[in-house]
């Protein structure tokens, strides 16, 4: 079992390493570099040479990659393109803010979607199922900038409960984000519920029709005990991977929502960095997002292994 987890972990690390190499090569392959970006029109002749020498861009790619990668391992992403800020500091607060937003959306969204999905599955084709399922589809299909705008319209402009535009700095204390945080995480929750709910619903329907649920009924097990003890643990297994993808998507920064609410998260920083051609920041954020995806999926894999006895011993045997 432990050996299996270590194997998964090793595979995850290899993936992250490959991603770092691809990101680095990708940026190398782009025409221009950090200096041409900073100097813009002056990027020629002596000024360019000087800048490159100062930023160490004249050394060959491999040593630069190694320096960059070892820096990341120590938590140091280097300097921004302008050379005035440490990326780690700049990114640090943004990561915290994005995590905060994701945590807010997930802590409501996951239990809610599991609950709704289970109810829809148990009362399949009844009004409750039709209501929840169409509601979830509707929520998913409305683009986030529309739902966000509508929420701002209602809560900020009509009701005046929250300010319409917030200019909280990235390094503010978490509580200061509260008003826009609520609205932003509501929008995200609406977006994510449909995926998980539909997965849970179909899985609950399958499991409730299975031989072992019929057997439990004929063993005289009360209905709700069957649902919680026999059906749900099995029904949630296939949902774990969908949940993991949603979690990774949220933690990777959600650009549109952050922009609409002017929320200082990772996604907005990425947009700003791209428009400002700040390649080192783009590289750093991409690395963080990639590592998050790998990490979350790793956790999901391990979780499925832990929760599914069949998978566990099958994997052990085939090893």
């Amino acid at each position: 079992m432990l050996a299996l987890i270590f194997r998964r972990l090793a595979l995850g690390l290899i993936t992250v390493w490959l991603v770092s190499a691809i990101i680095f090569l990708g940026v190398e392959a782009l025409p221009g570099d950090a200096c041409t970006a900073i100097l813009e029109r002056d990027a020629h002749g002596e000024a360019l040479e000087k800048c490159r020498a100062a930023m160490g861009l004249n050394t060959p790619a491999l040593p630069r990659y190694i320096a960059w990668a070892t820096g990341i391992l120590q938590g140091d992403f280097g300097l921004t393109a302008s050379g005035q800020e440490h990326i780690s500091e700049l990114v640090g607060y943004r990561v915290r803010n994005s995590l905060l937003l994701a945590a807010g959306a997930l802590s409501v969204g996951i239990p809610l979607s599991i609950l709704l999905g289970t109810m829809a599955g148990l009362w399949r084709d009844r009004w409750i199922d039709i209501l929840f399922s169409t509601g979830a589809i509707l929520a998913m299909t409305i683009p986030e900038f529309v739902s966000a705008t509508v929420l701002i319209l209602i809560f900020a402009i009509w009701l005046g409960w929250v300010p319409a535009i917030v200019l909280t700095p990235a390094d503010a204390r978490p509580l200061e984000f509260f008003p826009e945080f609520i609205l932003a995480s509501t929008v995200l929750t609406l977006l994510m519920i449909a995926h998980i709910m539909r997965m849970v619903r179909s899985s609950v329907i399958d499991v409730m029709a299975s031989d072992y649920v019929q057997m439990a009924t004929l063993k005289g097990v009360p209905y709700w005990r069957i649902v919680f003890r026999h059906a749900l643990p099995n029904a949630l297994l296939p949902a774990i991977n969908v949940i993991a993808l949603t979690v990774a998507w949220l933690m990777g920064g959600v650009v549109v929502v952050e922009v609409v609410f002017n929320y200082p998260g990772l996604g907005r920083l990425l947009v700003d960095a791209i428009s400002g051609r700040d390649l080192p920041v783009v590289q750093a954020i991409t690395m963080i997002v990639a590592a998050t995806y790998v990490g979350v999926n790793l956790v999901a894999d391990i979780l499925s292994l832990l929760l599914n006895p069949r998978l566990r011993s099958h994997q052990m045997r085939s090893r």
Partner: protein, 674 residues
Amino acid sequence: MAGPPLIDIRKLCIGFRGRAGTMLPVLHEIDLTVCRGQSLGLVGESGSGKSTLALAAMGYLKHGLQKLSGEVIHDGADIFARSASELEKIRGGRLGLIPQNSGQALTPTLRIGQQIHEALHLHCALPEGEHEARAIDLLAQVRLPDPQAILRRYPHELSGGQQQRVAIAMALAGEPDALLLDEPTTGLDVTTQAHILELLRDLAAARNMATVYVSHDLGVIARVCDRVQVLYGGETMLTGPTAEVLRDPAHPYARGLLASIPRLSDRTLPRALEGRPPPPGQRRRGCAFAARCGLATETCHAERPPMIAGAGAQNTRCFYPDRVAGMDAGGGGAVPGHGASDGPAALRLADVAVRYDRPGLLARLRRVPRNPATVEGISLHLRRGETLGMVGESGSGKSTILKTIAGLMSPAEGRIALGDGSLLNATVEQRRPDQLRRIQMVFQNPDDSLNPRQTVAEILSQPLRLYFGLRGKALQGRSVELLETVRLGAHYLDRRPGQLSGGEKQRVAVARAFAAGPEIVLCDEITSALDVSVQAAVLELLNDLKGLHGTAFIFVSHDLTIVRALSDRVAVLYQGRLCEIGPTAAVYGAPSHPYTEVLLNAVLEPDPEHTPRLLTEDAADLSPPARGCPFQRRCPVKCGRICEVDAPPWQETGDGHAIRCHIPLADLPRRIAG
């Protein structure tokens, strides 16, 4: 004899709502009674409503079904009128169910202990503190070794026989008055089946329980039931004492069913019951069986026959019970054809071994000794036009050997050569089209092996185009020819597998194999997913095809009677090793390998006088022993250390019959009989 009935079903009708909104009946005015200490067998083909009836006895209807009329009296009240909490008390308490496939009926995420504790928690009067001891006691009662260890296991970690025993233990937890058994041994090995049935008989007798067995297998019914109730199209056709029904059934359907069962004692092929049962819910006038009945008259098609007294103590739903006795019951089917036994070889296997495990890098570096191979030392040949049967319990490697010959797995050692001496490459990808064409395979379940999106024409045209380049008219003509070979007409060409019955689908699968013009056809349990009546028709078909074009067959089955009916030679396998091989008559006669004897003695026959002999415990999930005889752990006549240390020698009896055992041939029959 046994007081008032425990379960009394009166005029029960169950149906579902069809597309047009009308109610379509699945069960039709069924009466059923069973008392303490009695056992009743419900028999019928799939779709006859026998499982629906058994579940209805517990007040349970599958999704979409409704009770239309009638009642199920249990304990003085209609079970369908009871409240949910009363039903929870009765189910698993006074009425226990043993499901068909315990592997799927046990919750996969809960340990065996948790599931048995749940049953005890719900239905056992003992204080919670004594439940642990009770659970262990129950597992010991169903003769599971090491109950404490079993309690900690998950369902998938047990073998099929063990899962079935756990389900029985769980049903016993509620101290039931009556047990309902829904095909309790279908899908289990012959030996395991015989053991489980003996166990159930003993338990029912010791606890004076009523038992209702649902089965399509008259052999099972013969072994365990006092009375039989035959269902057809949702109606009771015949009831009576088991011995009478099996000896001289008073209904034409029961006769046909009986005649379609292959028997060890019968040298001819079973006779197929023509036609197919009506789909559940079909509206009809007259007798449900009229369309397939040899005795049917105009009256039969117009009026529903009443239940009347037939021969002996039987009641039959037939207008002419006295004419039924004139029909012949079983026997007299087609004589099995035999292929040439000295023709040129079609296939040779030399010392083939197959492994499933691949040692990891670490294990290789540390030189960890490898597990014994799954299949080892298989040397055999197949002549042109010959049928070689392969028998053995699950895990005996018979399917693995077929897959290796077909190139779906690659052998770890050994060689496989075609008749002309050309070696076969290991896997399908490496084989030449010509080699692929010469070996074709028919799989167990046609639902999985036929593409549901393709029509029969498309299914058949693939090999015809690929191997013979047929197009247009020629393609069409050849497809029709193939369908006629498997006794299906040209009108089947446009149908899709979903529109065919199980037997028809399997015929299409056989036709597809023959489309390639193969030299060797590999049949992997091709009748085990079919009803007995349909199985007989497929057996007849294969028997006819045997003579055709000198094609050789390898026929794998766990059913010894079928293998006997079809094969020229038989190979007996245990845990991937050959035990015995030779002409069919020699293998099924004496002397034979102790394992062959174990298998033969466990076979159930639809004959009330026949008693299976249990020579040894049923199989446990073990890998083969590293050395010595593969059968050493279960052998009833093991002679001592020599069996554990030395691989037994092949002993020839002549005529190509060889037995792999340390015991001298002359001693074998005496040792086993004693």
